[in-house]
Each structure stands twice: as structure tokens, then as C-alpha cells.
């Protein structure tokens, strides 16, 4: 085990606290220091109350000393995207509109993390109302990728991606309506999962699109991701879309490898206009799986443009429904890019919105039956091109920015519409030195299998062992 507290994984720090090797106060102090320095430099931090955080940490230490362990994350400092409501605490959603908003409820996912003993020590920066793939935020400042601060971290869970990658906290909650967990995870070299629609409660999370929103963890390792999902997954009577599925033990089979498993490798539409260096990384990942004993089956995927279109209609219409009052009353308080997208959402005919929802069951049956088929999972690129810079994707600057932005979520958004689980796993670096990642997509509620397959790759390649040059060191 490493001696630097900041470099530990979530699972390692949880174990070290539980065994009394380190205290929650030491771990929390390290995170506070990192967030207060590098967290501000990289624009990852929205707000933090160090005194409150240390008070909670010392309480956790006292409880442990008395033999009381709340749960698997006892005393572990976490911080989340600034859109998870906690009663009595600000939740500003990266916006001006919600500046000063104090919710009266607490998100179910936060309650579950609290019950597991985790500390919630800060609110993390995000894209305005979670509407953007790059991470840009003209109101709160654009977070910077810790692998190279000139590059985007991805959005909309931008601050969470930066904070976990830069070793400022051990894990975080992101949200994913079109790829907002998986993109910043892939772009910052992290593991992130968007579970099956209905697996994780969205109660108390800022809504963007009721039908496409997913809540999930972003972490440094596959085990950490499984550990966090274990805590937050499961039916919630407060969320009408919550599924009545039994939650399995996500870590039980984590080390069992992939021998005898079948992995479908997505070609066709997913390889259109793909940069050769990204294709090379994906091919190499498939080869790693083959060498570990998995059966590799290339699958020619036809155009999924219609799935992205359907997702766009649904998200656009539902987001407009949520925002239309503010659009009427305070249009000047939105950034121009977000306002334009929201106004566009007002234009979709209700008939087509309903068509997009009605087509959904057939689409997921087709994809699972015909594309994943008998395979255990499908290997899909997270992004088809090397990561662009902040300047290249500034909507007010470079004219190529719109095209670039459309490409960013192209490979992730279909799985929001389909509601299928998708795990983002780092798979090396492109020529610009920035991380690349792939998605493992599975059948509904097959998250445990995705973790097992993702872990096998991680163990074999060590891709999650590397830390970015701009990262916090406690020692």
C-alpha cells in the first residue's frame, strides 16, 4: 500500500481507516488541502466548509474508537457534483439561476452514502445545469484537465472528474444524461458507471431529463466504482422510475477474470471517422481481452444516429419543460449556449416526443438482441478522436467548436436512450498525452459482470495506476 494518503484508492483508504492505520481526520485534512489549493487552480471546487468537514471526520474517528462502524465507507471523504440536494445546504448547479438555492430535501444517494459512513466535504463545479459535454462554464469557470490544463476535462461532471483524477477526493457522484459521467471519466483517466435506468435513485438530484438522467459514481479504480455503486444502488420509493431489482454483490466476482466470456467489439458506425490512434487503442484493448481468454466477436453496428436524435428530442423537451418559466423570466441569466439549447427544446412537437419514448422499447430489444446478442458485454469507444483543448471547444471562439462538441457525446448518448449499463474504463493515452477510454455496455442490470470484465483489463494493463502530473500529494 502506498504511504501517501492522497494516492490511495477509495477502497484502500476505507480499509486503512477501518483498521486504524490512518484517521478520517488525516484523510479529510489531506483532501481539504488539495481542494483548497489545486482544486481552486483547476476550477474543480464550487464550495467547501473545512470546519464542518473536519468536525465530521473527528466524529467518525471517535465512533471508530468506540467500535462503531457506520458502513463500508466509514470516515471516507467524498465530494460531489453541485446538483445533489442536501437539506439546508446550497446547491447551485453551476448556474446563476440557482445561485443561493437551498433545497428542503436530501438526495437519496447522499442519504445512502451518509448511512455508509462517507463524509460529504465539498460541492464540485459542473457545467451549467449539466448541459454540456466539454466542461465549459462561463459563470463558474471552466475546470481544467489535470493531465494538461489546456485540455477539457469533459462534462457535464467536470469538477468531479478533475477532483478525483487530481487526487483531491477518493470518489464522487456524477450524473449522466448523454455521457456526463462516462466522458469526464474517459477524459480524465477514471472509471465511471452509468447503471441501468432505474438502478440508482434520482430523487433529490437536479433534473435535466426525467427519462435520460442517470446517477452514478466516478472513481480511480474499478473496485472503487463497484464499492460506491453498491452503496447507492437499489429501489427507492421516492423515485417513480426506480426498479424493483435485487442488487447483487458487485465485488463478489471482481477478480474472476474473463476466460470463457464473450466480448462483442463494436465496429461499423462506432468506427466512422475514428482517429487511427484511437482505433489502435481499442484494438489493443480487444487483444488484451483475447489474450486473457475471452472470445472476441467483432460486430458491425449500423447507424445509431436515430437513437441520438431520439435522445435529443427527449432531453430537449424535458429540459425545456423544467426550465421554461426561467426562460421566460430570466433568459439573460443563462449562458448563450445553454439558453439556445433550452429554447430549441421548446420546438419539438409533443407527438414526436412521444414517438421517441414509444420507440424506446423496440430500440433496446433490438440492440440487446441483435448487437450484444450472446455476448457478455460490448466494447465501445468513449470518444472517437483525441481529446480537444478548451480553446478548440469554446463555442464563442473556434468555428469548428460546434462540430467538435457534437462528436463528443456521439458514442455515449445512445446508451442513455437505451437505458443500458455502461462502464467507462481508461485504456491508455493518445499522442497528445491525454487519456482515452472505452465503454463496456451490457444487458440490463448486468453491472456486476461489467465490473468483472473491466477489472480484468485494469489488472492486466495497470491503466488506472497512473496519476496525472498535476495531482495532489499529501506527503
Amino acid at each position: 500500500m502506498t504511504t501517501d494518503i492522497a494516492s490511495m484508492s477509495l477502497a484502500q483508504v476505507a480499509k486503512a481507516i477501518a483498521r486504524g492505520k490512518i484517521s478520517s481526520a488525516e484523510a479529510t485534512q489531506s483532501c481539504i488541502k488539495g481542494l483548497d489549493t489545486l482544486g481552486r487552480t483547476l476550477n474543480a471546487l464550487a464550495a467547501m466548509d473545512p470546519d464542518q468537514a473536519m468536525k465530521a471526520a473527528r466524529k467518525a474517528d471517535r465512533e471508530r474508537a468506540q467500535g462503531k462502524k457506520r458502513g463500508p465507507l466509514h470516515g471516507v471523504p467524498l465530494a460531489h457534483k453541485d446538483m445533489y440536494y442536501r437539506r439546508g445546504r446550497l446547491s447551485e448547479c453551476g448556474s446563476i439561476i440557482r445561485k443561493g438555492f437551498v433545497p428542503s430535501v436530501t438526495a437519496t444517494v447522499l442519504e445512502r452514502l451518509d448511512a455508509a459512513g462517507a463524509l460529504d466535504i465539498a460541492r464540485l463545479n459542473m457545467v451549467e445545469f449539466a448541459m454540456g459535454a466539454t466542461g465549459h462554464n462561463p459563470h463558474t469557470g471552466t475546470p481544467k484537465n489535470p493531465w494538461n490544463p489546456e485540455y477539457i476535462p469533459g462534462g457535464s461532471s467536470s469538477g468531479p472528474g478533475v477532483a478525483v483524477a487530481a487526487r483531491l477526493v477518493y470518489g464522487t457522484l456524477g450524473s449522466d444524461t448523454g455521457g456526463s459521467i462516462r466522458m469526464p471519466s474517459a477524459f480524465c483517466g477514471l472509471v465511471g458507471i452509468k447503471g441501468t435506468y432505474g438502478l440508482v435513485s434520482r430523487y433529490g438530484a437536479m433534473p435535466l431529463s426525467f427519462s435520460n438522467d442517470h446517477v452514478g459514481p466516478m472513481t480511480r479504480t474499478v473496485e472503487d466504482c463497484a464499492l460506491m455503486l453498491q452503496v447507492i444502488a437499489g429501489q427507492d420509493p421516492k423515485d417513480a422510475t426506480s426498479a424493483a431489482q435485487k442488487v447483487p454483490n458487485y465485488r463478489a466476482d471482481l477478480e474472476k477474470g474473463v476466460r470463457g466470456k464473450t466480448i462483442a467489439v463494436a465496429h461499423g458506425w462506432f468506427r466512422d471517422n475514428m482517429a487511427p490512434e484511437v482505433a489502435k487503442l481499442l484494438d489493443a484493448a480487444a487483444e488484451v481481452y483475447r489474450k486473457m481468454g475471452a472470445r472476441i466477436v467483432p460486430v458491425e453496428v449500423p447507424s445509431l444516429d436515430h437513437l441520438n436524435d431520439a435522445a435529443q428530442i427527449i432531453t430537449g423537451s424535458e429540459a425545456a419543460s423544467f426550465h421554461v418559466k426561467w426562460l421566460d423570466e430570466r433568459p439573460q441569466d443563462y449562458s448563450s449556449q445553454v439558453r439556445t439549447r433550452l429554447q430549441q427544446g421548446v420546438l419539438y412537437p409533443a407527438v414526436r416526443y412521444l414517438d421517441a419514448l414509444r420507440l424506446r422499447e423496440r430500440a433496446v430489444s433490438w440492440f440487446v438482441g441483435q448487437m450484444i446478442g450472446r455476448a457478455d458485454a460490448m466494447l465501445v469507444p468513449a470518444l472517437s478522436i483525441p481529446l480537444p483543448t478548451i480553446r478548440e471547444t469554446d463555442a464563442t471562439g473556434d468555428p469548428r467548436s460546434i462540430e467538435l462538441m457534437l462528436r463528443l457525446a456521439r458514442n455515449t448518448r445512445p446508451f442513455n436512450y437505451l437505458g443500458l449499463p455502461a462502464l467507462s474504463v481508461p485504456c491508455g493515452f493518445t499522442g497528445n498525452g491525454l487519456p482515452a477510454g472505452f465503454q463496456l455496455v451490457g444487458r440490463p442490470f448486468s453491472e456486476a459482470l461489467l465490473f468483472r470484465i473491466g477489472r480484468a483489463y485494469e489488472r492486466e494493463t495497470g491503466t488506472t495506476d497512473k496519476a496525472p502530473p498535476n495531482c495532489h500529494r499529501a506527503a
Binding site: G198, P349, V351, R352, D355, L357, L359, R360, P444
Partner: protein, 72 residues
């Protein structure tokens, strides 16, 4: 006038949102919305009348039970 044309009329947008977009933005927004809506409209021709939004969540649960039962 088609469904998309009527819904995407610029005047309707301005009246509904209560604010005027710059012309270039409005055109791009209308054009993109119309293209996407028409595409889904064409796909919807394949739907049975009985297909309804709630079928999606039932479908996820059914597919979870059918583990590895489908043929490519």
C-alpha cells in the same frame, strides 16, 4: 403545413419563449429541430398503436431475465 413546420414556426417560438433569438441562431435551432423531428416521425411509422412509453421499463426487466437468450 407539416407537423414539424407548424411547430417550428419562428413566430410561434418567439411567442412561446417570450424572447427573440438572433436570426442565425433561430434558423439553426429550427433547422436542427425539424430534421430530428422528421427522422423520428419516419421511424414512428413502424410502431404498433399499442406501443407506449411504459413498455420501455418493462422491456428492461424482461431483457434482464432473458440473459443471453437472444440470437445474433
Amino acid at each position: 403545413m407539416t407537423t414539424e413546420d407548424s411547430a417550428c414556426a419562428a413566430g410561434w417560438l418567439a411567442a412561446y419563449v417570450g424572447t427573440a433569438l438572433p436570426t442565425d441562431q433561430l434558423n439553426a435551432a429550427v433547422q436542427a429541430t425539424r430534421r430530428v423531428s422528421q427522422g423520428i416521425g419516419q421511424r414512428a411509422d413502424a410502431l404498433a398503436m399499442e406501443d407506449e412509453p411504459a413498455g420501455f421499463r418493462l422491456g428492461l426487466e424482461r431483457l434482464a431475465l432473458e440473459r443471453r437468450g437472444a440470437k445474433r
